[in-house]
Amino acid sequence: MSRTVTAAPRGGPLSPTRAVLAEIENGAATLSEIAVRTGLDPQLVDTAIARLIAAGYLDSQALRLGCPPSGCHSCPSAGPTGCAATPSGGRPAPDGPVMVTLTARPRPQ
């Protein structure tokens, strides 16, 4: 693996965290795309996103075709404990896709 670390916080190339945030804002749709665009290791990008989620700059949500995780309890299919339209009360698969979005928290320059 041969990648360039660009980590100057200001006045130079973007730091890893800022580079990841910038690529999300620029429309990168997958972690692989961010890794390619930033030149960072894909697993490192994964970690950076986890850190940004923990810091409140990003939000994550499991993605699933079906009802929302807790069910809405408002359609005829809804059971007393959740949504009948999805198994396990609509809980997403543990290894399923996760949607990550920017939050409204102001990002440092």
Partner: protein
């Protein structure tokens, strides 16, 4: 108190290491989840481990005595602790809080004497972040490198010596499942205990800006990337199967085409696979079931009366016809579950999101819209995930245009009646139309009422492709079919009873008594006839088509049953004749369209896809966006549906 007690309280004796099992030396295993840490713990402790809760929490911590063989042939007993999985020392969960409390917060004399950082060689980019934080602590540290075989299969080689040099700590490759490396790890830990803690690692990036919130993490990432560059060798031609497929599946142009192709295949397989079962069920419901009901009623002396009309023309004709669509739903749900379980549907999410963003719609609205293709009601509830009130409102207005599963049987029925073998193409076209409506109406609202709305960037963390699990596919399919059947058991029965009752009540001016009035002279038929002129410009101004749309406003699941009921009641002398519904539908559409049947059918389908989904969706909209916007949604969707249906028919009649 011994650490091997059933419910240990580690902090109570951490302050006095002499109270610990063994010689009072505490060794803690730290690492991410799924690194093989607990397997290593079990291997080191034999069968002598116990598990207890960390004080004041429900977090489980394993403790044991580790008998380490020494060079002189004797053994040394160390207290071993298996801390819960932690991705970092910055806690975001109770599990990570326990690790943080012990390794960072606790006074120096209460911390473990040696920390063994268990790193997964196949996930080093993830696990080195934890090591970078551990190396900021004044702590004796040994790295146990696991999963080297998995890394090798992925074309990765980790240079343990180089890692040791760069991290400044001993690194031992271990495979706890095969007991390899365990002796080397014991030696490394024994030696580490005797040495002072190494100095914390130096910063990579120099002095940070004083107000830079990312400075600490950026320095760690920079260190991790440096270590990865020097320690991990990759076979460059080893690109994973997932990456190879994703190059096409998520490509901007090819990706959507592949998704469209996949969905086309799904609908074709669904229609072709369900057809024989549907025919058999249709014959069974219309034949033996109806015959048996008639015979039973005759034996009870109830033949020819109101009860027979209700049971045979109402319940059996209505619910029975809908039940013939169960195989179709089951096949489609199973195919969608396979796509989801294999990981492909997540790729579809990427290409769809990209398309939405390209036209300026909020990417985050994707989730409710995807849910809407199952059922619009929970989709409306799912708009709560959107942080912006304007985005929530816009999405709530777009959700009704997503073609929910309840509309599928109606489209399949019409497709089968009018287009035969091409029914699959019709269903596929309905979904394309639904997506086009979401995009088109969304664009229209964006350039009018929602000017200045900024799209929210979104990233999807894609799982690797894998073979679908039959159990998961089966459970998914059954849950959705069960949901469909529940609807049949609740809404449809209620609607069937209501339609049957309204069909039995004479309209004002009709001469026949209750229960003997022809359907077209009943309250039900008269109401539909009063509305039907509205649909004449769209080519389906027949009152029976209108009655189906009226019922569809309540619940799309009930459209087919009410249709079957209407036609069965219209021909009470032969309610069990298979094929009546098809022939009647064809005749009515031909008559109402003036011979332009195909154009009228396409117009009807367009209206069906675009107009208000059901009253339950309206209820959800009222709850989420208020009565005013709910009424606006009815106006937007029904108005759009009518304009498009008229357009389709008027253009279609010119070319058909």
């Amino acid at each position: 108190m011994s650490l091997t007690g059933a419910h240990c309280h580690p902090t109570s004796h951490l302050s006095a290491h002499s109270d610990l099992a063994g010689d009072g030396t505490l060794v803690a295993l730290v690492g991410n989840a799924n690194t093989g840490k607990s397997t290593l713990f079990n291997q080191l402790s034999g069968a002598r481990a116990s598990v207890g809760n960390w004080p004041g929490t429900t977090v489980e911590v394993g403790t044991a005595t580790w008998r380490v063989p020494l060079a002189d042939g004797s053994t040394r007993s160390l207290a071993l602790m298996d801390l819960p999985g932690a991705a970092s020392l910055s806690p975001v969960s109770p599990d990570e809080q326990v690790t943080h409390d012990l390794l960072v917060q606790a006074p120096a004399d209460e911390r473990p004497d040696v920390v063994v950082a268990v790193l997964d060689a196949s996930n080093l980019g993830r696990d080195l972040f934890l090591l970078s934080q551990l190396r900021e602590q004044p702590q004796r540290l040994v790295v146990a490198l696991t999963m080297n075989d998995v890394a090798a299969r992925r074309g990765l080689t980790v240079d343990a010596a180089a890692l040791s040099r760069m991290a400044g700590v001993p690194v031992v490759a271990v495979d706890p499942r095969r007991r390899s490396g365990v002796v080397g790890l014991a030696d490394a830990v024994s030696q580490a205990v005797e040495r002072p803690a190494p100095a914390p690692r130096a910063r990579v990036l120099g002095l940070p800006e004083p107000d830079d919130p990312f400075a600490a993490d950026d320095d760690r990432f920079a260190w991790v990337q440096q270590v990865l560059d020097d320690v991990v060798r990759t076979e460059h031609d080893r690109v994973s199967w997932t990456d190879r497929v994703d190059r096409w599946a998520t490509a901007p142009v090819i990706g959507p085409l592949l998704f469209a192709g996949a969905m086309y295949l799904v609908f074709q397989l669904t229609i072709a696979g369900a057809a024989p079962l549907q025919d058999w069920l249709d014959g069974w419901v219309a034949g033996p079931v109806s015959d048996a009901a008639v015979s039973l009623l005759s034996a009870l002396g109830l033949a020819g009366g109101v009860i027979e009309s209700f049971l045979v023309d109402g319940l059996i004709a209505g619910v029975g016809t809908l039940l013939t669509f169960v195989p179709l739903m089951a096949i489609m749900f199973a195919l969608l579950a396979i796509m989801e379980s294999s990981g492909y549907l997540a790729r579809a999410a990427v290409v769809t999101d990209r398309a939405m963003r390209a036209i300026g719609l909020p990417g985050r609205a994707f989730l409710p819209l995807i849910v809407g293709f199952g059922c619009n009601v929970p989709a409306i509830s799912a708009i709560r995930v959107l942080p912006d009130a304007r985005q929530r409102l816009l999405t709530a207005l777009l959700v009704p245009f997503t073609a929910c599963a309840a509309r599928l049987p109606v489209v399949v029925l019409i497709g089968a009646v009018f287009f035969g073998a091409n029914a699959g193409n019709v269903v596929f076209g309905m979904y394309l139309l639904s997506i086009a409506l979401v995009i088109g109406v969304g664009l229209l609202l964006r350039v009018t009422l929602w000017r200045g709305l900024r799209p929210t960037p979104m990233v999807i963390d894609l799982p690797p492709y894998h073979l679908p699990l039959p159990k998961q596919v089966g459970l998914d399919t059954w849950a959705r079919v069960r949901s469909f059947l529940r609807s049949a058991g609740t809404i449809i029965v209620v609607v069937v009873i209501a339609v049957w009752a309204l069909s039995a009540i004479p309209a004002p001016g009709a001469d026949e008594p209750i229960g003997e009035v022809p359907v077209e002279d009943s309250l039900y038929g008269a109401t539909a006839q009063a509305i039907s002129p509205v649909f004449e410009p769209a080519g389906f101004g027949d009152w029976k088509a209108t009655s189906a749309l009226m019922v569809g406003f309540l619940a799309k699941e009930a459209v087919i049953s009410s249709w079957a009921q209407t036609y069965a009641a219209e021909e009470p002398e032969d309610p069990a004749e298979p094929g009546d519904l098809s022939a009647s539908l064809r005749a009515d559409f031909e008559r109402s369209s003036g011979g332009h049947t195909t154009a009228a059918v396409f117009a009807f389908l367009t209206f069906l896809v675009a107009y208000t989904p059901c009253v339950a969706t309206l209820g959800a909209q009222r709850r989420e966006i208020g009565t005013r916007w709910m009424l606006a949604s009815v106006g937007i969707s029904t108005g759009t549906a009518w304009v498009l249906a008229v357009l389709v028919f008027q253009v279609g009649r010119l070319i058909t």
